[in-house]
Point group: C2
Chain length 522, copies 2
C-alpha cells in the first residue's frame, strides 16, 4: 500500500509542479542527497539544543526545512544501520547481524568475512531504473571484499573507505584502511590520507566536500538526476578536522569536527542554490547511530536529554538528528512528529524517483512524503534490535523494552561505559534482563529520558500493552531472518592487497586463511 | 564602571534612535517586561531542544530575538532567586539565605518570619526615578508579612500571591495562600481561586495573562513607561493549566502548563505588536531555577543535557532558558554566549531606564546591553551558592566545584532524588564533600553534563585553577554577608488574616506565637 501511495505521489508532483526537464526533454525526478553522519548524536545540533550552538548551517537547514525529532536508526551500530538505509530493511532481514551470541552488536571490521548479500537490492541499483547516477562519498561499511564493492551494488562512483578509519597500524598485524576512488585503492589512511592522531588534523572532510560539490556540478551539467550518498566520518573516533577548524569549537575536538561538517553542509546547500536546483533536489540529514558516549567528551558527541548512547537500544543509542530540506516543496520551519526511520529514506527516495519498492521482499521503510509534503502522521512501530534480539519497540509515544542490557559487568568494570553519568535502576542493566512477558514501558513524551517506567498495575500500562502486543506478535511471526553475515572472521580477508595496490606499490601479503567465529563482546 | 557604561548606553540610544515621546513630550525610556517562570527548566523549550517542540511562540521569540544558552539564576530555589533578580544582588548579600545549617536551601513558606529587608533597594523602587509604573503579576515570594508587601517595595500594582500555591489545606494547621489585588486579599487558592488537584485544572494563567494585557494597554494609553514583572507559577507543582490546554500536550500535565504559558507569551508579544510599541519595549524571558526533577515526570520539567535539577548547584539546578526580545534594537536570531545572570536583569533594566545602579552597595548584576546590542562578551564569574556556602563558580567555560552535595543519604533513601537517573561518581554526592583546596573542575563546552572532571595533574587544570583562585579569593574577601532573613519560623505569622480578610469574612485566628529555628533539610 505504501508503494502505491509513493507512485501516486510522484505522479501528483509531476502534475502540480513545473516539471524540471532533463536532457531528453522529459520530466526529471528530483535529485536525492542523503547526508549521513557517523556517530553524531541527537543533541549535537544547535537546533536540537546543543548549548554551544555551533551549527548555524544545519540550524538554517532546519529553519528552511522540516525537523524530525522522532527519527530513528535501525541499529545502534554503524554497519547494520547503513545496510538498513540502503536496503530499506531491518538488519535481521538483510543479514547484517550475528548469531555468535545473544543480542550482540556486530559490524564490519577488516577481519569480517561477510558483507551485503548479492540478493539484497540497494537503493542506487533501483534508482538506475529511473535514470539516476549514484555516488557514495565516504564510508561504505557493507563489506570490504571485492564482491561487496559499492560499484557492484549500484553506485556509479565511489570516493571513500570500506571500513572505519581506525588506526594507525603498522601494516603488520593489520593493514591500514584503503581509500578508494571507484574500483581502485588510491591510498591508505595514515599514509596517503593522513590523520594526525595527536592533533586530530586531517583534511578528509574537505576532500569529501569537494567530491560532493564536483559530483553535483557534473550531474547538473549533464542534466542527469543524481543520488549522492554523503557518508562522511569525521565525528567517529578518532575524530578529526582540518586545520582551519581545529581549536575553533567551544566543544573541543569533537566540536571542531561538527563545525567543519556544518560548514560543509552549508557549502553544499549553497551550491544547490547557486545552481538553481534546490526545487529539484531533496536533501536529508541524519546520523547512523547515537553519539558514542564511550569516546566522550573528547571524541564523542551528545544525545541531549536521552538515555545512554551508541551500542544501546535506549533512545540515546538510536534516536537521530534528522532534517528534510527541499525548498518550495517541503514547507519551511516545520516540525514533524512522524516516527521516522533511516529505512524510510530508501522508500522515500524510490517514491521521489517515481519507483515502487521491490515487491518480492519485506521492506520496513515507509514513504515519508505524505508526512513531509502534507503533514500527515502515520502510525508505525519502530523496532530496536541488538543482533538477533528484539530489544524494544516504540509505538506512538510508548516504548516497550523486552530486553534491557548495556554491556556485561566484566566490560563495565574495565571502564567500558555506554551510559556515563546515567543509571536508571533496573533499566540500564549489566546483565541481559528479559522482560518479554511484562515489558518495561515508558511514555517518551512525558519521559524522553526513559527514567520512569509505567507502573505494571496502571490502566495506562495495560492499555498500551494491549496495543503493542499484537504489533510485536505480527512482526515476529512474519519475520524470516536473513542469513547472518557477520559471524565469521578471518585475518586473511583484511585489506592486504585491494585492487589498485600494485600501481601504488602498496600490496601486502595476507597471512594464512583461518576462518573463526567473530567475537562480539557487546 | 558598569553603571557608567549603562548611563552612556541609554544616552547613546537616545541619540541614535527616534526617541519615543511620552505624555510630557520628553523622550521616554523603553518599557520593561520580565517574564519569570517558576521551576521551568533549560530543556523545556523547543528552541532548547525539547523533543515534543510545543513552544512555537517562545521559539518565535528566540528567532526574533537573542538566545542566551549560558544564563544562570542566582540560587537553585525560588525565593532567593527572585530576591536576587529584584535587588541585583546575591542572596548572601541581600539576606535571602539561612545559617541554620551549612549549605541549606531556604525560601519563604508561610511560617517564615523574614522577608526582603527595607534596606534593600528593589528594581521598581529605582525605576520610579525614571517615571516608570510597575506591576507584579503572580508570585512575590519575598516575604508575606505586611512590611514585605510588594507595594511597600516599589510596585504600584500587584495581582498574585505572596507564597507558593501549595495546598489544599483545611485552613486549620495552616491557612490557604491568599491572592492579593494591590493592598488587599481578594481570595485564597483552592477557595475563590480554585486549583483542582486531581485534574490539574486552574484558570490562573489566564487570569495572570489578562492582568498583563490590561496593564500594558492602560500604561500605553497613559503614555507612561512601565515595568511589568510577570511571575507566573503554573509550572511549579502542583502544576496546572486551564481547561482548553489540559490534555493537549504530548508531555502530560506539565506540558499542558507549558503550552498555556507559551500561548500566553505569544498573546503578550502580539499585543505589543498591535499597540506598535515593540520598538520601545524590552522583553526578557527566563526562569527562577532549574526544573524540579523531584516532581517529574508528571509535575516537573526538563533540564535538557544538564546534571540534576532544582535544589542543586549543578547546571540542571541553575542554568536557565533565557530569551531577550526587542525587535528593531536587539538583532534577530542571534545567540549570545555571554555568561548571564538573573541579577543582570536588575542592572540592565536600570540601564534601559537611563539610571545608574545604587553606588552604596555591591551590585552583582551586569548591564547586558553591550552583549545584546553590540554582541560584546564580558568575562565575569557566576557564583553558585547554597545558603551561606559558595558551592561552585563558573568562569568562561570552566566550572569549579568547591563543595558537592545533592541531599542527605537519609532524604535520598526516603525517595527524595534531585538527580533521577543520573549519578556521577564523586560528584552527585549524598554527603557534603569539600573540595575547596582542589576543586572539581569541568569544561562546560566539552562536557555540559558535568560528567568528566579534569584530571588534577593536567596542565589545563592547573591553568584554570590559577585563573579561578584569585577571582574566588577576591569575592570571598570582599564579601559582607547580609543578615540572614530565613532563620526564624513561627506558625503565628502565617496568612491567617491578611489585609482585606474582614471584607471577605475570611479572617482566621492565628495560634500562639512561638518563634523557632526553621528546619531546612537540604
Amino acid at each position: 500500500m505504501a508503494a502505491v501511495a509513493a507512485a501516486m505521489r510522484w505522479r501528483l508532483l509531476q502534475v502540480i509542479s513545473v516539471a524540471v526537464l532533463g536532457a531528453s526533454g522529459t520530466p526529471q525526478p528530483p535529485n536525492i542527497l542523503l547526508l549521513l553522519m557517523d556517530d553524531m548524536g541527537w543533541g549535537d545540533l544547535g537546533v536540537y539544543g546543543e548549548p554551544s550552538r555551533e551549527t548555524p548551517n544545519l540550524d538554517r537547514m532546519a529553519a528552511e526545512g522540516m525537523l524530525f525529532p522522532n527519527f530513528y536508526t535501525a541499529n545502534p551500530l554503524c554497519s547494520p544501520s547503513r545496510a538498513a538505509l540502503l536496503t530499506g530493511r531491518l538488519p535481521i532481514r538483510n543479514g547484517f547481524y550475528t548469531t555468535n551470541g545473544q543480542a550482540r552488536n556486530a559490524y564490519t571490521p577488516q577481519e569480517v568475512v561477510g558483507g551485503i548479500p548479492d540478493t539484497e537490492l540497494l537503493l542506487p541499483e533501483l534508482l538506475k531504473g529511473a535514470g539516476y547516477v549514484s555516488k557514495i562519498v565516504g564510508k561504505w561499511h557493507l563489506g570490504h571484499r571485492p564482491r561487496f564493492h559499492p560499484l557492484k551494488h549500484g553506485f556509479d562512483e565511489w570516493f571513500g573507505s570500506p571500513n572505519c578509519h581506525f588506526g594507525p597500524y603498522d601494516n603488520r598485524a593489520r593493514p591500514n584502511i584503503p581509500v578508494y576512488r571507484d574500483w581502485e585503492m588510491v591510498g591508505r589512511f595514515y599514509e596517503e590520507f593522513p590523520i594526525n592522531h595527536k592533533t586530530g588534523e586531517a583534511n578528509l572532510t574537505q576532500i569529501y566536500l569537494q567530491e560532493a560539490l564536483d559530483f553535483i556540478k557534473r550531474q547538473q551539467a549533464a542534466q542527469r538526476p543524481f543520488f549522492l550518498y554523503w557518508a562522511i566520518d569525521a565525528t567517529h573516533a578518532p575524530v578529526y578536522a582540518s586545520k582551519p577548524f581545529l581549536g575553533t569549537s567551544q566543544r573541543g575536538r569533537y566540536g571542531d569536527a561538527v563545525r567543519e561538517i556544518d560548514d560543509s553542509v552549508g557549502k553544499i546547500l549553497n551550491l544547490l542554490q547557486d545552481l538553481r536546483i534546490v526545487e529539484n533536489t531533496f536533501v536529508f540529514f541524519t546520523s547512523d547511530n547515537g553519539a558514542a558516549l564511550i569516546s566522550a567528551p573528547k571524541e564523542g558527541g551528545s544525545n541531549g536529554p536521552f538515555l545512554c548512547g551508541k551500542q544501546t537500544t535506549f533512545e540515546g543509542g538510536m534516536r537521530e538528528p534528522a532534517i528534510a530540506w527541499w525548498p518550495g516543496r517541503i514547507p519551511a520551519g516545520q516540525v514533524s512528529h512522524q516516527l521516522g526511520s533511516i529505512m524510510d529514506l530508501f522508500t522515500t527516495s524510490l517514491s521521489l524517483a517515481g519507483l515502487e519498492p521491490p515487491s518480492d521482499r519485506v521492506i520496513d521503510g515507509l514513504d515519508l512524503l505524505p508526512a513531509m509534503l502534507q503533514g500527515q502522521l502515520m502510525e508505525r512501530p519502530i523496532f530496536y534490535y541488538r543482533g538477533n534480539t528484539l530489544m524494544a519497540v516504540t509505538l506512538g509515544q510508548y516504548k516497550a523494552h523486552f530486553w534491557t542490557w548495556t554491556n556485561s559487568w566484566e566490560e563495565f568494570r574495565q571502564g567500558v561505559d555506554f551510559c556515563p553519568g546515567q543509571n536508571v535502576s533496573g533499566v540500564t542493566t549489566h546483565t541481559q534482563e528479559e522482560h518479554t512477558k511484562l515489558p518495561l514501558i515508558f511514555h517518551l513524551g512525558r519521559d524522553p529520558g526513559e527514567r520512569y517506567p509505567l507502573s505494571f498495575a496502571s490502566t495506562e500500562y495495560l492499555n498500551v500493552l494491549d496495543r503493542i502486543t499484537p504489533v510485536v506478535q505480527q512482526h515476529q511471526e512474519a519475520l524470516v531472518p536473513g542469513q547472518p553475515q557477520l559471524n565469521v572472521c578471518n585475518q586473511a580477508v583484511m585489506n592486504w592487497a585491494p585492487p589498485g595496490c600494485e600501481k601504488l606499490g602498496k600490496c601486502l601479503t595476507p597471512p594464512e586463511s583461518v576462518p573463526e567465529k567473530c567475537s562480539w563482546p557487546h
